[in-house]
Structures are given as C-alpha cells and as structure tokens.
C-alpha cells in the first residue's frame, strides 16, 4: 500500500478564487492510501517545495499528488522536488485543478466538487504507480544540416563554432539559397551578397564543416543521438577536389541556350556552369539534360580546355553513409507558381514578373547588370504596378493560393518601390495593397518612408485584371478609399507571389517522421515554448521550413536551433523518457497494428523462441519497442487488439483506476 501525501495549491487566487482548497485537502484525506493532506498558497515556491520535502520525510511518503496547475507547467518542478526528497520522480502525479477546473468554472461549489474528483483520480493513479528509471543511449557528436541557405549556413556555423562537426547537404550546386539571389535587404538596405558571401566563405573554410552540394538526403534511420543517414551525391561530372573554378569550360561550352535557373530563366547559361561568381563550392557542374557529350557523346570541349583535368564524363552518383546525433531541417521556401492566376497575365506577358524576378532585374549580377529594364523589349519602364498578396491570404475553398500571410511581401515591396523611385525618379510606382503589415524593428518607419519621402502611390485595393495591349499592360484595379475603379497603363507589373515550403520538405518529413501542417510547413514541438524543435526528438527546425519569415528572424531561429543542437551534442549519454510503450510478449500476436500506427518508427518485430505449455519451443513474431525512439504517445496501446501494448507510467490499469475514481 502506498503512503500518499496530497498537496493542494491555491495559486494565489487563481485556484483559491473558485475552489475551496481547504475542503479539497480535507476530502482527499479520506481516499485510500492518503496519509497526509494539506494546502498552501504557492506550492511551486521554495517554501512550498520545502514543505513537500519535509512532509515526505516526516510521513514516510511513497507517493505524491499535487493539485495545482497543468503538468505542462510544473510537473518537472515537482518531480525534481520529489527526487530531492529521495522519492522516485515518477511517483508524482499532478491533478490539474487550474486550467481544467478553476479557470473554466465560475461557482465555488462546482469548482470545488470537480477539484475533489480530479484529486481522487490522481490518488487512484498514484496507488498503482511504480518507480521508473529512464534508459540511456550514447550520442554521436556530429550534426547534419539539410539545406544550405542562410538558415542552414547560420545553424552550421553556430554549431561548428561550438566545436562540433557539421555536414551541410544542399541540393543545388552551391550553398547560398534564396538570399544569394536577392539584391538589397530590408530595412537597412545592405546588399544581400555583401553580407551573405562572407558567411558562405566562412562555411567553406571552417575546419568543422563539410559541404555536400548537389546532394540530397535519401534515407534516415535511427533515433535521437544515433541517426544513420544516407546522402546521395549527384554526379556533377566534374571532380570537385580538382576543379579550380577558373571558368574556362563555362566560357568555351558551345551549348549556351539553357535557361539560367539562378536568374529565374530570364537569361541563359551554358550546359557546364557555375551558378554565380561567389558560389561555394566554386566548382563547375555539367547539366546532364543539356550537355551534348553526355547526351550523345559529341563534343568534349570542356575536357579539352580544362587545364586541371577535372572533367569526368563517367562520374556516377555516389552514396555516403554517416552517423549523426542531431538533424536540422533548413529546406526553405519557393514562390508559388503563378499558373492559376490567369487574371494577372503572368504567362501572357514577359513584363508581368514575380518579386523574386524583380530582385534579379535590379541585382548588379543579374541578367540586366542591375539596370531596371523590361524583359520584353529591354526598355526602361516608366509606370510600374506592384500587386501585393498574390496567392496569400486566400480562402481554402478558392483552390488556388495559400491561407496564410506570407509575411515578407509588404516589406520587400516597399523596398522595391522605394529603390525604384530612388534610382529612377521619373518612374511612377503604384502599390496595390489589402493591408500593409509591417511589424518589426524599423519596419513601419521604412514603409512610411516609401510613402512620404519617395512618393510611392500606395492604393488600398486589389488589382482585378491585367491585359497586355500593344507594349502596355492595362491594369484594372480598385481604389477602395476613393471608391473608384482605376485603369492604369503600366510598363511593368510585379506580383508579390505567396511563398510555400520547398517541395523536398514533404518527402523529407516522411523520412524523419517529423510532423507537418496542412501547408507542408514543419510543426514545432510547442508553438511558443519550443519553436525550433520538431516533436520528433533530435530533429530541429531552422528558417522558412517552419513558417514564413524574413532574414533577421531566420538568422535568430537558426541560432536558436544551433543552441538546441549544441545542448544535445554536449551530452555524452541521453536520458530517455521512461514513460514508453512496452509489449507483453506472451500476449503479442505479431499482427503489426502497432508498427503501422507508430509515428516515430519505434516498433520493430523480432522472431523469438518461446516455451509452449506442452514443453515444446516455438518461434513467434513479437513486437519490440526501442525505448530511445518511443515518445510515449500511446497510439500503439490503443491500436493493439490483444492488449499486449502498454505504456509505462500510463498503464491501462492506471487509466481505468482514474476513470473508476471519477465515476465513483
């Protein structure tokens, strides 16, 4: 029989305002196993905790029930208190009489009655509690960062600076991501390349960082501290360690008509290419879909001009196996396709462009060398219309676009409008907006500057349609504040396309058993308190793979993810959660129901020898739970048809005892 102590917390007036705490303590005294019961103003305070420790000694308690706030709040606190008093921390149960009782009821008698019932349930559970000890597993002191944009770069640098080796896997031939394509960055207008490329060089030169460019993760096995990852390194047909990046091959390649993805197809590149001058690694890559030598064996010019002898037409995809303790997802975003937005004539006119294309058009390293020229005729545009919220904030039934606000568009549009007016004062710039959303340090001031100092015409209303006519784009739009329909003859229309997670995120989430929301953004372990961790242990989130965010936010989150990784890798052993599933092998019939519902891949099957009642032995297939991977969600215990699966700390027997106590 347990010796249980009950401690009822007032939480100031939070609980005591609606629950008669003295009556609760008194009522619970009569419950089986309870030898001591009391109340106190703030149980979580030092004095409250000391009282608990004192009572454990004085009354020789073997179990504790705390009637207080949600276990999410203070379960860890009281478990530590119990441990300090010499009890097993898993002999503590919390009855939540605040969030689920005092805060939702208004009348004292009802609140008190419910608090007593909740207390009784907790007492019934503690009566069946058993001491639990968390298991231990070793930690591989190496981190994997998936994605080499600014998020991945910052995370990798921060982890490597703490002394742990890091590998970056980037699917493009160079790291740098979207930020490398940008011109200037809001709100301070420093040039993206000037602040990004030094970081890219830092990554390349860091002795603790390895870059796997033109590579992707093809398989992930294992669990926190012990991931086994297979990285597929695509053949780039150039020996990475030999190529000097001199560019002679790029110059001589006769196949020069391949759309240049770095400039979003607004100009062409050769079949052998280096994405941009500051690429890291600065190594050429052959596009196998464009190269004549690879397609039909006719050419080989690049191999002849390469003085280093780096070209290798026979190179094969390579698979690399590596062990990691932690994985950071930094897969980033892309603008959505404009195909479903016919009204803006994106596919009809070259002069209707997305904002990312506008970045390339104004970038000194872009297709126009930084001169703002129309893609159709290379003329300077005199009237530019910016359209905000294209595909953002759409209703889910609209079947096109996204429900969320893409967050960055208001600021980059203000930047584009301002810079255009600054460089080309003879240009009329219109911005059509629904709302201008500029929360952030110096953000609203920046937008006001565009309006007040640079005379950008901000018009509340949406553009209804864009019709190409001659060399003009007829823009028909609402001006809601003056209740007019506007007709503007524009030279260039720029669409602030919504952003969406990169397409590689979904299959990656499946490999990592990390959860995602309906928009394919990775879900956090807690939206406020654990924003850089995935619910899957050992998987961390950095940058826009978790939700739309700008560069300052991405860098902060990247650093936060790194600090979580460092915290994990700094440990030699990992203490698991002892509240994990375990299977009763005698009852298990090997049906695989549990394996199918397990979101973490913690359940495997093994063939085991059993002694049968007639003294023969038989081999049976039974479930085995890896306690280091199991997160204790309990899905398997519900799925198991034979009742063989049970969750330590939340055994079926304990749950039933709680229900019985409530229904008594």
């Amino acid at each position: 029989m347990q010796r249980i102590g009950v401690f009822v917390c007032w939480c100031g007036s939070n609980i005591a305002g609606t629950v008669d705490v003295k009556a609760v303590a008194e009522a619970l005294k009569a419950e089986p196993g309870v030898v001591f019961s009391t109340d106190y103003q703030y149980m979580c305070s030092q004095a409250g905790q000391d009282m608990i420790k004192e009572s454990v000694r004085e009354h020789k308690l073997t179990g504790i029930v705390i009637c207080s706030c949600s276990p999410r709040m203070h379960e860890a606190t009281f478990r530590k208190t119990a441990a300090a008093a010499g009890l097993n921390p898993y002999m503590v149960e919390i009855a939540n009489i605040r969030e689920q009782c005092s805060w939702v009821h208004k009348e004292m008698p009802i609140g008190t009655e419910k608090a007593i019932i909740l207390g009784k349930a907790a007492v019934a559970k503690v009566n069946l509690n058993t001491p639990l000890t968390p298991g231990e597993s070793p930690v591989t002191k190496r981190a994997l960062v998936i994605g080499g944009g600014i998020a991945g770069i910052q995370t990798a640098l921060d982890i490597a600076d703490a002394g742990f080796p890091v590998d970056i896997v980037e699917k493009k031939p160079t790291i740098g991501g979207k930020m490398a394509q940008l011109d200037k960055t809001f709100p301070t207008l420093d040039c993206a390349a000037c602040i990004l490329t030094p970081k890219m060089v830092d990554v390349a030169q860091h002795e603790k960082i390895r870059i796997f460019s033109y590579s992707e993760v093809s398989e992930v096995k294992g669990f926190v501290g012990n991931f086994d990852v297979t990285i597929k390194k695509h053949a780039r047909y150039v020996k990475e360690d030999v190529c000097t990046g001199c560019g002679a091959c790029v110059e001589k390649c006769p196949m020069k008509k391949v759309p240049n993805e770095f400039n979003l197809g607004m100009d062409n590149r050769p079949a052998i290419y280096i994405p941009f001058a500051q690429a890291v690694p600065k190594v050429a890559t052959i596009d196998p879909n464009a190269c004549n030598m690879l397609k039909n064996g006719k050419c080989g010019l690049c191999a002849r001009v390469c003085t280093a002898g780096a070209i290798d037409y026979k190179q094969q995809d390579e698979y690399i196996q590596e062990k990691y303790g932690a994985i950071v997802v930094a897969t980033g975003f892309n603008p959505i396709s404009m195909d479903k937005f016919d009204e803006f004539a994106y596919n009809q006119s070259k002069d209707v462009i997305t904002s990312l294309e506008f970045e390339r058009l104004t970038n000194a390293a872009g297709p126009t060398a930084g001169k703002l020229l129309r893609p159709s005729d290379g003329k300077h545009p005199h009237t530019i219309v910016f359209v905000q919220c294209v595909g953002s904030r759409c209703d889910s039934c609209a079947q096109k676009g996204k429900e969320y606000c893409s967050k960055i568009c208001c600021m980059y549009t203000a930047k584009h409008a301002m810079l255009t007016r600054d460089k080309y004062p003879d240009t009329e710039v219109y911005v059509f907006y629904i709302d201008v959303r500029t929360p952030g340090k110096s953000f609203d001031e920046f937008y006001r500057r565009a309006v007040e100092e640079y005379d950008v015409h901000y018009i509340k209303g949406m553009v209804g349609k864009v019709t190409p006519q001659g060399d003009k784009l007829k823009v028909q739009a609402s001006d809601l504040l003056s209740n007019k329909q506007l007709h503007i003859d524009a030279d260039l229309v720029v669409l602030a396309a919504a952003i969406e997670p990169d397409k590689s995120a979904r299959p990656l989430a499946t490999m990592l058993t990390a959860s995602m929301d309906t928009n394919d953004f990775f879900t956090e372990a807690h939206p406020k308190l654990r924003p850089v961790e995935s619910p899957t242990a050992g998987v961390f989130l950095s940058g826009t793979c978790q939700g739309p965010k700008d560069i300052p936010e991405t860098v902060s989150q990247a650093g936060a993810a790194a600090s979580k990784v460092i915290g994990l890798l700094a440990k030699d052993k990992l203490k698991g959660n002892p509240c994990v599933a375990h299977s009763n092998e005698q009852m298990c019939n090997g049906c695989s129901s549990c394996e199918r519902v397990c979101p973490y891949g913690a359940i495997t099957y093994e063939d085991k020898e059993f002694r049968m009642p007639d003294r023969t032995t038989a081999i049976r297939r039974v479930a085995a739970v890896n306690p280091a991977v199991c997160q204790g969600c309990g899905a398997c215990t519900v799925a198991c048809p034979s009742g063989a699966m049970d969750l330590r700390g939340f055994m079926n027997e304990q749950i039933m005892a709680e229900v019985d106590a409530i229904c008594k």
């Binding site: 759409c394 209703d395 039934c397 209303g461 028909q476």
Partner: protein
C-alpha cells in the same frame, strides 16, 4: 420586412458568408459593369453584412450587374459577391409579386445587338 430577417434571408438564399470578406476590393477591381453601378460589388458585401440592405434594394445597381461571375471567380476568399447581388435582386422581385419571365417571352426579346448571355441571365433572374 424586418431588417435582420431580411438579412438572414439573403444570406440563406445566396449561401454567402460576408464575414469571410477581407475588403480587398478585387471583386470591384474586376467588375466590367463598375462604372454603371452606384453600389459596387464589395459594397454589396459590406452593406449586407452591416444590415444596410434598403438602399441596395432601391438601387439601379441591381440591374446593372451582368452576372458574369468575374467577382466570384477572382475573389480570394470565396465570398461570391454576385450571388449576393442576385439574392438582393430576388428579394426585390419577391416583394413585387409574380412578374415572372417564361420561355415564351424570349423570342420577342431577340435581336442582333442583344448578347445572348444577357437573355440567359435575364431568364435566370426573372424565373425564380
């Protein structure tokens, strides 16, 4: 008719939830009959939402809407303003009594300048 009852009736008839509207004005931006209308599509949505329905029922705007459904097609929030315009129109017709259009009336209305779309819409509007 009671104001709130009328509003409820309109919302039920049209199946439109005007609270979904974020007042972006894309419906009015896309409306080809904008200049002919006293109240524009986005105003229909906000006025019905606010229960300000009498002025709409008296307005000629009701009959200027071409029911081309461009606003329905373009609305990012799936509010479907044209359905609301049609519901107000229907409310007016119901108050007036039975002045319904039959298939027999159509041949007399045919002439070369009238777009057939207009007759189709008219038939839809006046047969309910």
């Amino acid at each position: 008719m009671n104001k709130s009852y009328l509003q409820e009736d309109l919302l039920r008839m049209s199946g439109v939830n005007p609270r979904k509207c974020m007042q972006c004005g894309k419906c009015s931006a896309t409306c080809p009959a904008y200049d002919e209308m006293e109240y524009h599509p986005h105003q229909f949505v906000s006025m019905v939402k606010n229960g300000d329905i009498e002025p709409l029922m008296k307005s000629q705007s009701l009959y200027r809407c071409l029911t081309c459904f461009a606003c329905v097609e373009r609305c990012p929030r799936s509010v479907e303003p044209a359905k609301l315009v049609e519901a107000v129109r229907l409310a007016v017709i119901r108050q007036q009594g039975a002045n319904r259009m039959t298939a027999n009336d159509i041949p007399a209305l045919l002439d070369e300048d009238t777009p057939q779309q207009l007759l189709v819409s008219a038939f839809r509007k006046y047969t309910k």
